[in-house]
Amino acid sequence: MPAMTYLEAISDALREEMRTDERVLVMGEDVGAFGGAFKVTDGFVEEFGEERVIDTPLAEAAIVGTAVGAAVVGMRPVCEMQFADFVACGFDQLINVAGKTHYRFGLAVPIVVRLPSGGGFSGGPFHSQNPEAWFMHAPGIKVLAPSTPEDAKGLLTAAIRDPNPVVFLEHKHLYRRVKGEVPEGTYETPMTARVAREGTDLTVIAYGAMVHAALEATDDLDAGVEVLDLRSLVPLDTEAILASVAKTSKVLIVDEANETCAAGAQVAALIAEHAFEQLDGPIRRVASPDVPIPFSPPLEQAVLPSVDRIRDACRDLLDY
């Protein structure tokens, strides 16, 4: 198996799907001649042409809205928001048009909206956000957030083949920092959780970049810490979450997103409701406080969940 970066794996999935399914097209700001702000679609316009790799006007509502229109007449559009934060401009089309159509009259809307998300590199308040919870709260939209190159490729492939609107969160911090073996050819990763490391004393639940932070934070702890990588937030793998909690009886949930009503809040509620009697300690959370992600490195590092904060929270729970 070749080793690829997270970014290369995403490109690979897109390229493979475009090669095998002529209905798949890529659209967004600067995705064509420039190859995308992060170069995910580098070389695509040369291989697939300008008609399937569409440099669009700077118009996020229209990017999502036209993708819906193309989808309901038989295409499989993959939209890129240049940064996840900008999806706020296309929010209405995603929530009210894409998300509600199948429920209302049985018409499927197979679109993927790729969101380069997350902080850690001084992107500031408009280029660092983790907006996944917005979409978890809106019925009819699947929400995926892979942490490894292998899963990034398999989940994006699954997203493109899925008959529903899918929001695909690709963490910018992982793009070039994470490298791993990726199977050749095409494959779909199931929209379920993955045990990133087994353990029996404590479960840390995370997704995206926080999976790597959780693994690093618990690597040298003198305890068996299980790290559960959610991979998919909608659908949420309730079974895997409850199984891990039943095994370890202690749980820490890590979100890079702002704390209130984050994905982790939903996971905490789920555990409190269904696994209360299996717990040997309080459900603990580490997340970004409810502030915009600041620009200057010391401020940003003070906000984002750090390896140290995660490790401290684990120690507290293990001692409980």
Partner: protein, 341 residues
């Protein structure tokens, strides 16, 4: 090409009569407490949806607005399913999941609207983008109101369609009021004039003349099929009822309503059709009987199964795109592109 046959002209009238009869009956049902929520009709605007939809081929795709019931009728959606839709019945087009004209029967080639206006302009633009990409001889059409021209989606769709020269027809249904807000508080420059700055023509037609609307949209469609890009057609009309059934529209000057009442689109088409020797009273009676039967059928339909409320949020199967719709204009029979499609 482009002439309306005698049968076409009768069909235009019949669709408008059917729309008005269904909506009149629905208002009665609303007052009887059988239509939950509120009820939104297109009384006085029948020519806009009927005339425009009539100009579209079976493989074209439509995104109508809430006062465009006529488009659904032209495409072949049955009156009983529409009345059941209004009453939240299981046999309604959305099976009770959405109300009033918030529906699209996928089999008819129509995508249902959302309340955020004019979101469907972007959707129709995307349909047209796919048609152009696949080199198909097809057009997308959508309607939107005067108020909707104030929102950003209007700009984004107009600009995008212009930049990509897409086969899309935008029909601006200028009915003088957005709820209670008159045109003067919505814009300074008539939106039809904006088309030019997006790089395509804008034309204004009498929205109460169904044949004029048909003709303007037919020309716009042919222009789109010829690869010349979008057209904005402004159909000037009047909303003769309140925004919805609960709205007494005291904000509309009575003399304005009286003036527009003289220009009723149905009466105008009736005069034309009568001159062709058609017995209009008979046609009216047929439509009334059809709506009567449809009402009985809809009233007999069950309410939806409450245990079904949480189902169907996600599609489980490979997506089934919009199907082809009915396109009754006789002109399509002579079009080789449509016949072979």
């Amino acid at each position: 090409m482009g002439a309306l046959s005698r049968a076409d002209r009768v069909e235009l009238l019949r669709a408008m009569l059917l729309m008005r009869a269904i909506e009149a009956r629905a208002l009665t049902l609303y007052r009887q407490g059988r239509v939950p929520g509120s009820f939104y009709d297109g009384f006085g605007q029948e020519a806009v949806s009927v005339g425009a939809a009539f100009a579209m081929g079976p493989r074209d795709r439509l995104c109508p607005l809430h006062r465009d019931l006529g488009a659904h009728l032209v495409r072949g959606v049955e009156p009983a399913r529409i009345l059941a839709q209004y009453m939240g019945r299981a046999s309604g087009v959305t099976g009770g999941r959405d109300g009033n004209v918030h529906f699209g029967d996928p089999a008819s080639g129509v995508m249902g609207m959302v309340s955020m206006l004019p979101d469907m302009m972007c959707v129709a633009t995307g349909m047209a983008m796919a048609f152009k990409l696949r080199r198909e001889q097809r057009v997308a059409l959508t309607w939107f109101g005067d108020g909707a021209t104030s929102r950003g989606d209007f700009h984004e769709a107009m600009n995008w369609a212009g930049v990509q020269r897409l086969p899309v027809v935008f029909v601006l249904e200028n009915n003088q009021f957005a709820y209670s807000t008159p045109l003067a508080k919505q814009f300074v420059v008539d939106p039809v004039e904006r088309a030019r700055v997006y790089g395509f023509p804008g034309v204004t037609v009498d929205g109460n003349d169904v044949e004029a609307v048909f003709d303007a949209v037919r020309v716009a469609r042919e222009r789109a099929l010829a690869g010349k890009g979008p057209t904005l057609v402004e159909a000037v009309t009047m909303r003769m009822h309140g925004h919805a059934a609960h709205d007494d529209m005291r904000y509309v000057p009575p003399e304005l309503l009286a003036e527009w009442a003289q220009r009723d689109p149905i009466e105008r088409q009736e005069r034309r059709v009568a001159q062709l020797g058609v017995e209009v009273a008979e046609l009216r009676a047929e439509v009334e009987a059809e709506v009567e039967a449809a009402t009985a059928e809809a009233l007999a339909a069950p309410m939806p199964d409450a245990t079904d409320a949480a189902h169907g949020v996600f599609a489980e199967e490979e997506a089934e795109p919009l199907g082809d719709g009915r396109a009754p204009w006789s002109g399509f029979a002579a079009e080789p592109a449509e016949a072979s499609a």
